[in-house]
Symmetry: D2
Subunit: 426 residues, 4 copies
């Protein structure tokens, strides 16, 4: 979902290693799937897993091999049409909502495509000393594929979660989690003041977080952990979904028209709440953070509690102040944890459990400027009708965990791993 | 799509053989597919091939094994919910338009389901002397699966035909066809008179053709062959799709809203007409019968030529009069021909090329009576808003070729193998 | 909805009188309306009353004045675009489903349009001896406007009936009706035989009923009166709307998707059934014929009773046999009765209460041939996906009451005055 | 669209005068309409004029008369159901999108309703000394009706503008405007700094602008006038609508799916651009501000010019700095100007021509708090998926013109009087 700025300081020697590691991880995520699982698109926002495998490959082929490798021959002349996602600069493309209609190319053909492009990329690394622009694009390609790794997990969960057989993706719910005890939430206070938002410099970042700039905040506080399933259940059982007073009007219309009455993947069987997880259908764990909420639900819950969601600026400042170090034990995808953790007291958990809805609309920063060409389409053209999420989930790669990182979704979306943290003014 | 009446005269010894042959043929039709090809549903009327494999199996399990075999255990308790098509009597079912969302059960699980049911069916044949009712249901199950064999061919063609890679299903276009020459159409005359329509007796037939009854016809004639691609091209190039005068109003609205300008599977590439066939994308063969027409197109073509479509009664009488014998060389699925043939002079071809649209709406015969229970849903509840087709296509089994057989589709449908024969009053 | 053949035998002297009477009656029907009532289109099938006033006028202007009166000047150059209904021959037109968006021209402007055309028509009658073709078209225009008179009543009822204030159109429910007692229905038997269907000759008729031809009928019987509200209530209270066994599949899907549970205009208030009538909201009268049924409901009711609907041919033959004379006391619009009547014993009531659904699809008669030009669009292009109704309603003009008259609607339509008569085979 | 805070300082003696003046103006706006014009709803966002007449009356009846006048009898027990807009607190209501289906109550009945409520309101003023809360609600009712006066003008223009007869509402295009010459736009600079946004105190304001708070701005500049039709024409003719690079993705999809190629009400007749105005169809005036743009178009235009839209905070600060006085000559509805004006050099025009799109999403201010009860629904529940507009149009009442006023619409809306002012960073 985003482009970045300068990247030259990253050690170019490691580029090739990162490339390789990223490509391998994508395929590992797909290991539990059979060919049939790769094909379908049960909702417009979901892409078939094989499409992710091909599209991330197309990115390297299009923006590096085709541009910089003399005599490079496309693996297949039809693939650019099939696997371009939304880059108008790159010409016509198969309609997004029809991705799930294509049975061909088969998974094994797409794996051959991946191998073909990987071989040419490795030759490219061997035979060329990549210049700054080429390195920059390659790093983008890596981060791009990492974003698709997270989407792959979302999409696999969606595909399995609507299946009445409720298949198990991986039996990974840690025992530890099951016995953990949640502690009372504490308020972390931040003083009124002029703060710096955004990022500059050489470390990798996307263009939507580019440009340090000042932002004034009034005094506020945020809680030191996410809202749990047990807490959210009180909202459900207290009639929260039926009481218009807590809802934005479009949110309440959505609740009624879609018959929403609980987070996505929750179902009530004979009075008992179950939750579809990557480990199959499970009883609700009351102390785990509640996930798969839309912005509308997160916002209504906060209002029901008498609080509000933080702005993305408050979140960033609180995070910088209370959790400047990213903990090693974060529940991240590259450490192969496929479940959230129970928050422990004193552990100001800002990253790696769930993306946290903010009350900020996704808008350009003051000095935001789209880059020229196709990669300028990475982020900027989405800056309307979406809300910002911060923090990262247990399906996020560690390279995508930082205080300035901006994720964004439409307010009714909830197949992503999203939760809620409360804020208030002081 | 239909139920039948009495069947006791068919030799019960052959029932088991027919069962076996039918089950094998279904799987053979799927041989050229890979796992991915079995999953998708590109349009509401198309079912994923693996659904056909499972649904035809569910039919035998539900209506024979569950009912008549003591201690029979379902292969999987969720399958009846997943693989019931439209039998309200049999309870809740997965929504038809969502069949393409299910990646599980996998094809190999469904094949295990087929094997499990086949084994129990064969034991059932061995261990019981099937009574009349059981034989009757078993014959229906066989004919039901044969109908799905034809649908499988339609659906595979649809799935392949919308894929921009235009995969080949089977390289079977006979050389003979390519060089054949079509002869001028002749008119076959039928005198005014009181004729008998429909079927009685012991030979297998569905309930919608049951009940011999009298029908008066004024003198008419029908052509002795179907309209060809070359003839239809004149209609296209003469502006037929743009001239409202030839169209039913709902047909013309359909043409405009769907941007129809040629039969399904035809495309014009730089002035040259191509046709997606089971052997891949091919140039139009001008002497082959034009296929994949909707009723609206067939009707408009007939009007453009100054003629009309026959009624289903005219078709049945003309067929009885001019082609009482079903030719052995008919291009039928159980003879593994996957293409239509060029009509030869003197060969009154009424069967086995394409289903022929009639101008008759699909309505009950005078003495039509639904049978009780689930099998009564086979035919009767579809008798509105559909038009009758007669004859059979090259994907029709020979058991489904007879003068009284009534097929039916909505007037805008055209993924079935349908063509046009002209008629006129004398 | 239809065109006719020859009309020369009708006395041309009376043509002018008929013209005048028809034009006056249309305006009388609109007398109880205020300007606001003339504008809206609450459903696609409903037209704003002022549109009917203008469209019927446009018909005379377009097909007579423009064609045959030298130097005739259009009343307004934009009106042909606004008030053409569906005549492709007459060029572009305002979209049907947007008729209710137009506040201009105002009603008084349309009345001026009517006066302008009437004056020119009367001059045309005075100054010309109309030739056969001109007389023919004028008669069509008169019958066309009479059809729109009936539609006007339907549309006014729709516009009033969805208004939560339930306005009264006219206080006309006759006292007699309220106290009448319905008698048991009797079966009228018709023998097997070859009958004549359709009409020839000089009396006015539309092209869809043109052409006497033979039709064989097996022995059958129809009831001598329509089903009543009281009888239909048993179907409702017996769970008829919830039991799929009585319904065509598309009918049952319609019932569920539209949440249909009673005839149109019926509502249940605290256990009491009320019916919106032209005299306002009224208690159900159990002995009056049940009206505003769709074909699906009529068909399901018949099946629930163990019978069926008649075919249109059976209806025509039974009518010719049992009710050859059209009774003077029929409840017709030109006698200003705005309610149905209770059927009396011995009074074979075939006309003038409600249009009666048949089980016949609307198809061309054997020798049907569309006339050339715009008037050929009157009937023929609608011959698909509709069902035939016979008989006429209390909003039908007496000129439209005859045994051969074919009315037609889509099977889910029910704002027209439609009811059900049962049939069975003998 | 909004609620307010304290109002006690406004002279209560004038309350009654304001009430009376406001009620009269609403009816004056409707003077050029005939009964038919009051009824229709050509698009979901448009309400029939008679609905505005009734709804504004319902507001006073519901929130004052019913609550505070002993023995007050509703004018009609059904009106609360019909004329509640979106207040869930006030119970069930007629669906918004069906407002255009109701022909009753007639305009004259609604005028009687207005008179009845006005009489009771005037008695209420006479007989009671209104307490603070009652005064507060009455002021809200007045401002509420003033907002509906502006909406009335939008809706009348919509109803007339889609009519192929293009009726004239009022012949008011001033001669002056036609000959005025636009001057080059100048940049108004604002320094970096911490500014105050929002409003406190006793002067009337809505809750969404309540609460002075600090906001940091980087140095920026805005132009001193709006973009003109002539300037916008260059964008059109330069292919702006076809070039994806200037558009937000959802904006470009909207352009394609709705076939947008010019501002609303513009049409190209044989190469000449015409514009539907309240004075009828007129040639484009190149020096007048371009109106009826969506946010997507405003945003794309700004990007095409190499600039951007201002944020709402930038707009407010620039306005406070450069145009603290609201000019008397503003083109406002209560001065009965029905057209925009040509901007003159040196006349920093920030108000009263067109609402100006900002790049700010409509979100709550830091200390925003919904009031309890129905009036808390005035503003807060709309704070998602909408963009803020500032300034006011020539259909805005002068009481609604102030630097802190926040208007808001969805980004694709363009029937409101909206234009574009450019901004840039320094």
């Amino acid at each position: 979902m985003n482009k970045y700025e300068v990247q030259t300081s990253q050690n170019p020697d490691t580029l090739q290693d990162h490339y390789r590691a990223t490509r391998i991880l994508t395929e590992e995520i797909c290991k539990p799937l059979q060919a049939e699982d790769f094909v379908v698109q049960p909702s417009d926002e979901v892409s078939p897993p094989k499409w992710h495998l091909a599209h991330t490959t197309w990115f390297f082929e299009t923006f590096l091999l085709v541009k910089y490798v003399e005599d490079y021959r496309l693996f297949d002349k039809d693939y650019p049409y099939l696997f371009n996602s939304y880059y108008e600069h790159e010409g016509e493309r198969w309609q997004r909502q029809h991705r799930g209609l294509l049975t061909r190319p088969w998974v094994k053909e797409i794996m051959a495509y991946r191998n073909y492009v990987d071989e040419h990329m490795l030759q490219f690394f061997e035979n060329h000393k990549l210049n700054d622009e080429q390195q920059r694009i390659c790093w983008i390609g890596i981060h791009h594929e990492q974003q698709h790794q997270e989407l792959l997990v979302y999409d696999i969960k969606y595909i399995f979660g609507i299946n009445p057989l409720f298949p198990v993706y991986r039996n990974t719910t840690s025992e530890l989690n099951q016995s953990a005890q949640i502690s009372e939430a504490n308020w972390l206070k931040v003083d009124e003041g002029l703060y710096t938002i955004g990022m500059d410099g050489n470390a990798f970042h996307f263009d939507n977080e580019e440009g340090k700039h000042k932002h004034f905040l009034h005094a506020f506080a945020v809680q030191d952990r996410l809202i749990t399933c047990g807490e959210y259940l009180e909202f459900i059982e207290g009639g929260g979904y039926q009481d218009f007073r807590y809802w934005l009007m479009e949110g309440f219309e959505w609740v009624k028209s879609e018959a929403i009455h609980a987070p996505m993947y929750w179902q009530n069987k004979k009075g008992k709440w179950l939750n579809y997880t990557l480990a199959g259908l499970q009883p609700i764990h009351p102390d785990l953070p509640v996930a798969h909420l839309s912005f509308y639900e997160a916002d209504a819950y906060a209002r029901w509690k008498g609080f509000r969601l933080p702005t993305e600026f408050e979140w960033e400042v609180a995070c910088q102040q209370y959790a400047p170090e990213i903990p090693q034990e974060a529940n991240l995808l590259d450490q192969r944890n496929y479940s959230p953790a129970v928050s422990q007291a004193g552990n100001y958990q800002f990253y790696g459990d769930l993306w946290e809805w903010t009350q900020s609309a996704y808008l350009p920063y003051p000095y935001y400027k789209k880059v020229e060409g196709a990669l300028g389409e990475y982020n900027g053209k989405f800056m309307v009708n979406q809300m910002v999420l911060r923090g990262g989930s247990y399906a996020t790669l560690s390279q995508h965990i930082r205080p300035t990182y901006r994720n964004f979704f439409h307010p009714e979306m909830r197949w992503q791993f999203s939760g809620v943290r409360l804020a208030k003014h002081l």
